[in-house]
């Protein structure tokens, strides 16, 4: 048995994103695994656990990948949980290493994006979406989040400028991140004038579906140190599915149920967190996560946003690599993006824009809008090795 505190995450890997790709998801998984091996210096035979999140592997799942990639593992998991799959993969891998079921677990989120694959993914996303959302022309989550955003704005007095402030800050962060698809600064005027997609959602409130992969390794601290790998420690994690089903419309996530335990087992308070990687498929979700994870009261996010700045040097750094809004949403890789960036920030990787003196980082997972709301909420607190 390895102590919970002694499991670490390392080897953050990103397979560069592209708007469309002729490659399939297997290609991106292979590139991610190759990156993990290269980054860690481990031979493939040392990887004895594999956890994959993907929507576009069909008809394969993780098991088909083992043969495809030529890996022999004693622990395997497949988590097509979209925006939550990174944190959930970390939680699963952590328990595997802790219990000795595996020593080195490769966690990979990868998806491809062909010209029509986004529509096809939507079409087959869930039975509820096929029966009760897709026929209404929303054609994806835009409309669902238009509802949430409109309701949130009405209820709590948020303005488009509030959401714009987050988006603009993230774009600023992205300018220094080499894998971001959006490399042009974004002004408030451009944000406000972006074409309307489903009001009140406009162009710059939406992520761009793309192809890409993210990955990291989970292993014991001793193993990482023996390999000489810089790492981040996993201080606390949580996941919650289908929280508050009685809410008529989603104005809060499952974090509300888990945040006390989350901070408690990490031994910190929200004010100790140095940066947050929100799950930013739409800026309204960043606002909700700021509330639900205890940085302000419910409904106070608009005021919080007006009070803070969100770039890496800001008073409340958010999505320090640009987040999905500026990097792109590569399917399940989007659920890994915040974690991978957190590992980079906390393990002293060579970053163009590090968060100064970051000791604790919070990475949030959210996703699976199978009908009218995201069903999964998850979060992980990581820390620097010496924190």
């Amino acid at each position: 048995m390895v102590a919970h505190d002694d499991v670490v995450v390392t080897a953050p890997v990103t397979v560069p994103y592209s708007r469309y790709s002729v490659r399939n998801a297997h290609w991106f998984c292979a590139q991610a695994l190759a990156g993990l091996l290269q980054s860690s210096g481990l031979p493939k035979s040392e990887i004895d656990g594999l956890c994959v999140g993907s929507f576009t592997l069909a008809p394969d799942s993780a098991i088909g990948l083992t043969q495809h990639l030529g890996v022999t593992v004693r622990w395997l998991d497949y988590l097509p949980l979209g925006g939550a799959c990174g944190v959930v993969a970390l939680r699963r891998a952590l328990r595997a290493v802790q219990s000795g079921d595996a020593e080195v677990v490769a966690c990979i989120g990868a998806d491809t994006n062909h010209v029509d694959s986004f529509r096809q993914t939507l079409e087959s996303f869930s039975v509820f979406a096929r029966d009760a959302v897709f026929p209404y022309g929303s054609g994806g989550p835009n409309a669902s989040f238009a509802f949430l955003t409109a309701y949130y704005m009405r209820l709590y007095g948020a303005t488009r400028e509030d959401f714009g402030k987050i988006c603009i800050a993230q774009r600023d962060n992205a300018l220094a991140y080499p894998n971001a698809l959006f490399k042009k600064p974004l002004s408030m005027r451009e944000y406000l004038e972006g074409r309307v997609i489903a009001d009140p959602i406009h162009l710059f409130d939406c992520v761009m579906p793309c192809a890409g992969a993210e990955g990291f390794l989970v292993m014991s601290r001793r193993r990482a140190e023996n390999l000489g790998l810089p790492y981040a420690r996993v201080r606390s994690t949580c996941e919650r599915h289908n929280a508050f089903p009685e809410d008529p419309i989603q104005m809060r996530g499952g974090w509300v149920l888990d945040r006390d335990r989350l901070y408690g087992s990490a031994g910190i308070e929200p004010c100790d967190v140095d940066f947050v990687q929100t799950y930013d498929d739409y800026p309204v979700m960043s606002a909700m996560q700021i509330e639900d994870l205890g940085f302000c009261e419910k409904g106070a996010a608009p005021e919080f946003i007006r009070r803070h700045t969100f770039t890496t040097e800001g008073s409340f750094p958010i999505n320090t690599c640009g987040g999905q809004l500026s990097v792109g949403q590569a399917g399940c890789a989007a659920g890994f993006l915040g974690l991978v960036e957190s590992i980079r920030q906390l393990s002293g990787r060579n970053l163009a824009r590090p968060v100064p003196n970051a000791r604790f980082g919070l990475a949030v997972g959210y996703g699976m809008i199978t009908y009218d709301r995201g069903l999964c909420s998850a979060a992980a607190i990581l820390s620097r090795a010496d924190a």
């Binding site: 994806g140 409109a150 489903a198």
Partner: protein, 414 residues
Amino acid sequence: MTAPFTRPKRKNPVLRTRLPLPPPGARSRAALGLSAAAAMGKFKLQVCEACRCVQYPPREACGSCLSPRLRWREQDGFGELLADTQVHLSQEPYFRERAPWRIGMVRLDAGPTVIVHLHSACGPAPCRVRVGARLDKAGQGVLIGFPVDEVANMADDRQLREMTCDPKFRKVLITDGKTAVGQALARTIIAAGADLVWVGQAEPWKRSAGLEALSALPQVAIVPLDLTDSSSVVEAAGSIGGRVDILINNAEVHRTYGISARNGTDAARLEMDVNYFGLLRLAQGFGPAMRGRAADGAAGATAWVNLLSIYALSNFPPHGTFSASKAAALSLSQALRAEMRGSGIRVINVFPGPIDDEWNQPLPPPKLAAEALAKSVVSALKDGVEDVYPGDVAQEWLARWEENPKVLERELTA
């Protein structure tokens, strides 16, 4: 109020006719219950027999107590519009062509939150709405949020018109203008705003005073059409098939014999020749052009109506061969519906009880007046309903049939 639908401009003959693209039509088996109810003009949701919990989206087991005993029950549809949006950009070609498209999220008083197509007279959120179910161009049930109170020109809502087959400004073919029903249909559909009504005339040497009076109306044109004659159907389809927006097949032969009351097959064959083969000939003649024009402007081809009979559900032995021919026609119309569905042309089946005509002379009342039947056909078009059971007798038979078709058969053979 809703902006009234005005006469669409004449089509530019140089431009390509837009191809019909249905909205997403895939549904789980559970969700088809919503379509089945909408097809009959009803808004039903699954209700748990064990805990009364109302379910949505449709599912296999109660989301509350896990009981699989879910029954589709009619809903009043009242609820609160929580949020609404205009979708300007959709991944789905059908909605891209029709953007912006207004939808809403409604918390039903009955419990669940539903996503609905939103009538333009609703809202903005928050406000009270009434949710109803309609069939969309894919022929599947969808929910629509309506204003609680009736507003002017409600039926003219652009999105609602996609779900209905309103005769306003449309061109209609009524296949038999000689019967009282055909004449009532023509007058009723003209009153509903149809631009042009072709009425079919077979055997012109058999005069019909009603048809002669009808043909004096400026909207009416007589077209030679004999459903027993393939060449006649081909000719009519060739001359007007590319312009018919609504086809109402009311031609029927009704003889009042069982099996032993009439030797031979001539009467039964004539019934089949018109009631069944006539429909087949019409479908082959008029179907392709109508399918091709299902997205042809704001008042393009939209519906195909078959006048069947309640006897199509279960045989009425005194009219045994007629019942059989209508059952055959019902079966064929289901095939037609399947072939039309991809285009968005709605196939409407009308199941009247005994019509007040010479063939039902010996039957006791209640019998359905031609005008009442015509009214129900036009209502079905306006509501976009797929199956219509006009009149008290039809309603009663339907109730019995839905309850237990085998018992109904016994009742009818008693």
